[in-house]
């Protein structure tokens, strides 16, 4: 993997697997309608972590219903369906209410895309703080490595998440901005405090 920190680009000449193909297929339709950034587990898997997952988490920018409807129609025409509801109005209302909605290939719930609008400022920042991963057969926008590490280590904190964070840290030794990780850690600490209230 060649990671150019300045250009915020990463070239990964990996052999694609079934999950990568699913992701690239979905993104082909998604990115025609809305800006997106992939976050969490799939990022670590894309960058080599030795595990699988049932879902791929993605933030999409807040869009009005008419734009969402075009995206929804394109997805359903091309073999995807929503696991949460059938009517696009209902799916959209879930998104607006802050829920994530899942899309999979028809009658194949695994793998699926977990799509959500960003809720907090720290989530919205991912749209300005992303890396483009260039694969042999497409591109994927992922959130910055420092965000992955901070969220996994200090927000999610499960064994699996700590391992995901460690994988990124070890794989990109010398290229991680720990000052940024620590700033994010403080923000996450505040978020967690507020969640407890």
């Amino acid at each position: 993997m060649e990671y150019d920190v300045v250009k915020r680009e990463m070239i990964v000449n990996r052999k694609l697997n079934k999950l990568d193909n699913f992701v690239l297929d979905f993104l082909k339709f998604l990115k025609k309608h809305v800006d997106y950034v992939i976050i969490s587990g799939y990022v670590s898997i894309l960058l080599g972590r030795s595990r699988a997952t049932e879902d791929v988490d993605v933030f999409i920018e807040k869009i009005p219903f008419d734009v969402f409807l075009k995206l929804y129609e394109e997805l359903t025409k091309n073999g995807f369906w929503c696991l949460n509801a059938e009517k696009p109005e209902e799916v959209f209302s879930y998104l607006e209410d802050g829920y994530a909605v899942r899309f999979s290939l028809v009658n194949k719930p695994i793998p699926n895309f977990e799509v959500k609008f960003p809720k907090r400022e720290i989530d919205r920042e991912t749209f300005k703080d992303f890396i483009t991963v260039i694969l042999p057969e497409g591109e994927v926008k992922i959130s910055a490595l420092e965000r992955q590490i901070a969220f996994k280590r200090y927000y999610l904190k499960s064994d699996k998440d700590i391992e995901d964070a460690l994988h990124i840290e070890e794989s990109f030794k010398g290229k991680i901005d720990y000052e940024k990780v620590n700033k994010l850690k403080k923000i996450i600490g505040e978020i967690k405090k507020n969640e407890k209230k």
Binding site: M1, V12, N13, R14, K15, L16, N17, K18, L19, F22, I45, G48, R49, S50, R51, A52, E54, K108, I110, P111, D159, I162, E163, L166, H167, E170, S171, K173
Partner: protein
Amino acid sequence: MKKNKSDKTERVFMKPGKNNKEDRLNFVRFWANYIRKHSDEEWSEQQNIIVNSQYN
């Protein structure tokens, strides 16, 4: 991680963990080190065995 000096290919050995959690973390380090030292094509071929086995 220790390198075996007698091995021309300079094998890197994984330190066993005191418990399952530590052992898993040590393997994550071991695998990340493998990724750094091998081509994307080589490591992804192995990773794909795990990933592809989960989906139809």
